[in-house]
Amino acid sequence: MEILISIKPLLTVLVPLLVIPILVSSSQKPNVREAWIFGGGFVMFFLVASMVPAVLSGSKIVFTLFKLAPGADIAFAVDGLGMLFALVASSLYIVTSLYSIGYMRGLKEHGQTRFVSFFALAISATMGAAFSANLLTLYLFYEILSLATYPLVAHHEDAKSKISARRYLVFILGTSIGLVLPAMIYCYHVTGTLAFSTAGIFAGQLSKPAATVLLLMFVFGFAKAGIMPFHSWLPAAMVAPTPVSALLHAVAVVKVGVFSIVRVITGIFGVDLLAAFNLGTMVMVIASFTIIVSSCIALSQDELKRRLAFSTISQLSYIVFGVALLSPSGQLGGVIHILMHAFGKITLFFCAGAIFVATGKKYISQMKGLGRQMPVTFAAFFIGSLGVIGLPPTGGFYSKWNLILGTLEAGQTVFMAVLLVSSFLNAFYFLPIVYQAFFGKGKDDLSDAPVTIQEANLCLVVPLAITALASIGLFFFPRMFVDLIVLGLNL
């Protein structure tokens, strides 16, 4: 593998950071401020995209920022896996920025400058996590991301957001300090390195019990991945404005959690070690439990964003599940679900926000007949649902296909049932919403008079249309992303 030294990964992280002072200083001029957000977003995206050819040709782009101790520097390394995640987050950041203008202005929210500044900080940390060369750097950006999200969750500054923000921190910071930090230092103590490598860093230095405990500490410690029982911060965090729920709590933050687990499984332990100790199955059991239980809970939620949140919890565990299968198709299916789920779920959140801005409704029971009033939004909602359920013609089908293939490859047919049952549950909690919206009748909807079309403003509708279409596009063109994953995981 060719190693290229380039400052680009660092620049990608710095661009949104450097934009923040400009955002703060232009707080009185919202249009100027928003222009800078887009400027920063596009520059960041092009920086990421400019690294794609090199990564696709099998090179690794590295840059060491600070030397701390051997094997534990603050350093970046762009491989296929990180590139996939960075592409997802940086492209969706631009779309979300557009959406966020429509949403925040539509609701005349307070503190918009604070909001966009911390949003930029969060995306910067996400990029850093995607490009981390070792566990220490990953942990650093993981923590920065936790802290950057706190003011966003507490944005409304009322009693409810206070409690939610508190819960958010207790779970996220508590697990990362209480579980990941000691586990990470222990890894360094044993091996003297934290750099990711597909062969793993433990060269037979770990007994099975120690490996089990460490793996559990990591899997539960990265609580952003929402694995039960450390999941309940996510539904609580839905008090945040919808752009936060859409980008951070369906894509960036939660996927940094999953991404970290993927890194630990594939880059710290290594597939061979886990297969030898048969630890993959343990993680799969944990993930399966989360998949099924949270799907069931999602069924019972009437608040749309909460239902989406529980759906996210279950879908995140798909990714962990796939990677823990330890078979090539399973890992491919799991990791590519980072991409597919991102586009599907962000569409759903965008729809939820658009509905709220246009009508003020946030409960599913209020949405009967609303599809006739907002056809574009609910069409997008339908596509997003298909993506999450895993039906063609959306990208979600591709990940589910590979996951199921993976269970067969690994000879874990029992776990195939988990995937199938959960797909049914997904269909049960999403499709009735769409059906009721188009064909159901609301209580106050007595007359048969044609409903006037009343979509939310364009800033809200365009993003959700884009992500819905992209979700379909991914069904037809997943090739590049598959290549990235195959290179990244050495499948």
Binding site: Q28, L140, A159
Partner: protein
């Protein structure tokens, strides 16, 4: 001969003299003299550090008298670092103090500056000296000046706190002096290097054992190691702000330095670890200190008190690290001297700023601070994160070495205590952040009701977007209106905040150029 080591200590001493005299001419003059003296001392410290890193240990004979008879300043990598730390913090604090002294003790400003300089002389001397008895004298100088300075503080409780501190401080000093007496009887010398050589031959002696225990106990009392900490919280929270800001980060850290100096240079680590078999017990004591400090901090409702108990907790980090018995632990302890001084200084600077604007730092005075004092709070948050141990702040990296050291020594209880205290500190600081973030305390009449996203509710809380706000409840200025501390105070906080990040990202460099060479 390079006179910098002498200038380093003498500049503030002479400064104190002249600052006192100048007050007869004009009160304001004493401040400028103090500032100049500290600047000179700071410059000398940096130049000494540079020389020591390049050319190795520096020995300076006062007035040319050769040791063991004469007084020797002996500066190696460890105390060169500590000296820079002391002089820089003392200088920066002086910059920040002009406003707070004006506000708190306007009539006694010159005496404040004189005592302040003498206090710094003591700290610098303790760190620079190579002589055990001089060490005692200089410790007493710092202690005596701090008694007076603490008594200048809170009118009702400052005196009692100072009195408490005197009693316990004198006991601590006596222990140490007694220990030095034993050493002098057994070795006939007071020069550290000299004593160390002689001690090698008589390690079995029970007099040496007694000397060691007495010295260490004395130092522990002075550094407020739990359960010998009872004097600290009151003394530090009732002192005048200008003094609290320098005594809190420096006093305990310098005593940790003395402990490490005694362990490494005078008695020798192999004697302490192999002959005494005390290490396990001391690490357990450190674990208790960490947990007790952290949990006592939890029950406080005043920011200053909370920080004081966090100091008690942090002392446990350093004592435990030093006694783990491996290089990693010792590295962590030494690195934490630097890092903890920076974080504590930043926290107390922020507290000073808040007190300057709001008089009190009880939790009930804090709501709305993020919008009123955004710069101060930025520094406070950064320092708080460093105490919690969030990278890339420096606090993370000392914790990193300490936990690694704990794993290497098999002291899993110490690692657990570090992690638990991080968690407790996270609770502590986020409790404070939360209070400061929300505009009004829960239960206030104008506290927002849950759930409603209508913009009208947020006029109070608007940060940058909407200037102004209609009413602020009670004692503090209306939320949303900036009411920041003076620039001099913010500048000091800003510099320390940068230092916290810099000490974090360059932790590897610090360890490789200063700490590891010192330990070898």
């Amino acid at each position: 001969m390079n006179n910098m080591p002498a200038i380093l200590v003498l500049a503030p001493l002479l400064g104190a003299l002249f600052a006192g005299l100048a007050a007869w001419i004009q009160k304001q003059l004493s401040y400028y003299i103090a500032l100049t003296a500290m600047a000179v001392s700071c410059f000398a410290a940096v130049s000494v550090l540079k020389d020591v890193v390049e050319a190795g240990t520096m020995q300076y004979r006062m007035a040319g008298w050769a040791p063991p008879m004469g007084i020797e300043l002996k500066i190696d990598l460890l105390n060169a670092m500590v000296l820079v730390l002391i002089s820089a913090i003392a200088f920066l604090n002086l910059v920040a103090s002009v406003k707070s002294v004006e506000q708190e003790i306007p009539d006694r400003a010159p005496s404040f500056y004189v005592m302040y300089l003498l206090f710094v002389v003591g700290l610098l001397g303790v760190s620079a000296t190579g002589d055990l008895f001089n060490l005692y004298v200089l410790i007493e100088i710092t202690s005596l000046t701090s008694y007076t300075l603490i008594a200048l503080g809170d009118k009702d409780r400052g005196h009692l706190a100072a009195l408490n501190y005197i009693f316990i401080g004198v006991i601590g000093a006596s222990f140490y002096l007694l220990g030095v007496g034993y050493l002098y009887i057994t070795t006939g010398s007071l020069n550290m290097a000299d004593v160390a050589v002689i001690l090698k031959g008589i390690q079995g002696s029970s007099a040496v054992l007694t000397a060691f225990i007495l010295c260490i106990l004395g130092v522990w009392i002075k550094m407020a190691l739990f359960p010998l900490h009872v004097w600290l919280p009151n003394a530090y929270s009732f002192a005048p702000v200008g003094f609290a800001r320098v005594v809190a980060p420096l006093m305990t850290k310098v005593m940790v330095y003395v402990m490490i100096r005694l362990m490494v240079t005078v008695f020798g680590l192999d004697y302490i670890l192999d002959t005494l078999h005390l290490a396990d017990a001391v690490v357990w004591l450190a674990v208790t200190a960490i947990l007790a400090g952290a949990f006592m901090a939890l029950s406080q409702t005043d920011l200053k008190k909370m920080l004081a108990y966090i100091i008690v907790c942090e002392i446990g980090y350093m004592v435990g690290g030093a006694w783990l018995g491996n290089d990693l632990g010792m590295t962590g302890a030494i690195l934490h001297i630097l890092n903890d001084a920076l974080m504590t200084f930043a926290l107390f600077l922020a507290v000073g700023n808040i007190i300057y604007m709001r008089k009190q730092v009880a939790f009930s005075n804090l709501p709305g601070l993020f919008s009123a004092m955004p710069w101060t709070m930025a520094g406070f948050v950064l320092a708080g994160l460093s105490i919690i141990g969030v990278p890339p702040t420096c606090g993370f990296f000392s914790k990193w070495y300490l936990v690694l050291g704990a794993f290497e020594a098999g002291a899993y209880h110490f690692a657990a205590a570090l992690i638990i205290s991080s968690l407790v500190c996270a609770v502590l600081f986020f409790k404070v952040f939360e209070i400061c973030f929300f505009a009004s305390a829960p239960g206030d009449p104008d506290h927002h009701v849950a759930g409603s996203p209508q913009p009208i509710h947020y006029i109070h809380a608007a940060g940058h977007d909407r200037a102004g706000g209609d009413s602020g409840a009670g004692t503090h200025p209306p939320a949303g209106v900036m009411a920041e501390a003076p620039v001099s105070m913010l500048a000091a906080l800003g510099l320390v905040s940068i230092a916290i990040i810099a000490a974090g990202v360059y932790a590897g460099t610090i360890v490789n150029t200063i700490i590891l060479p010192f330990l070898q």
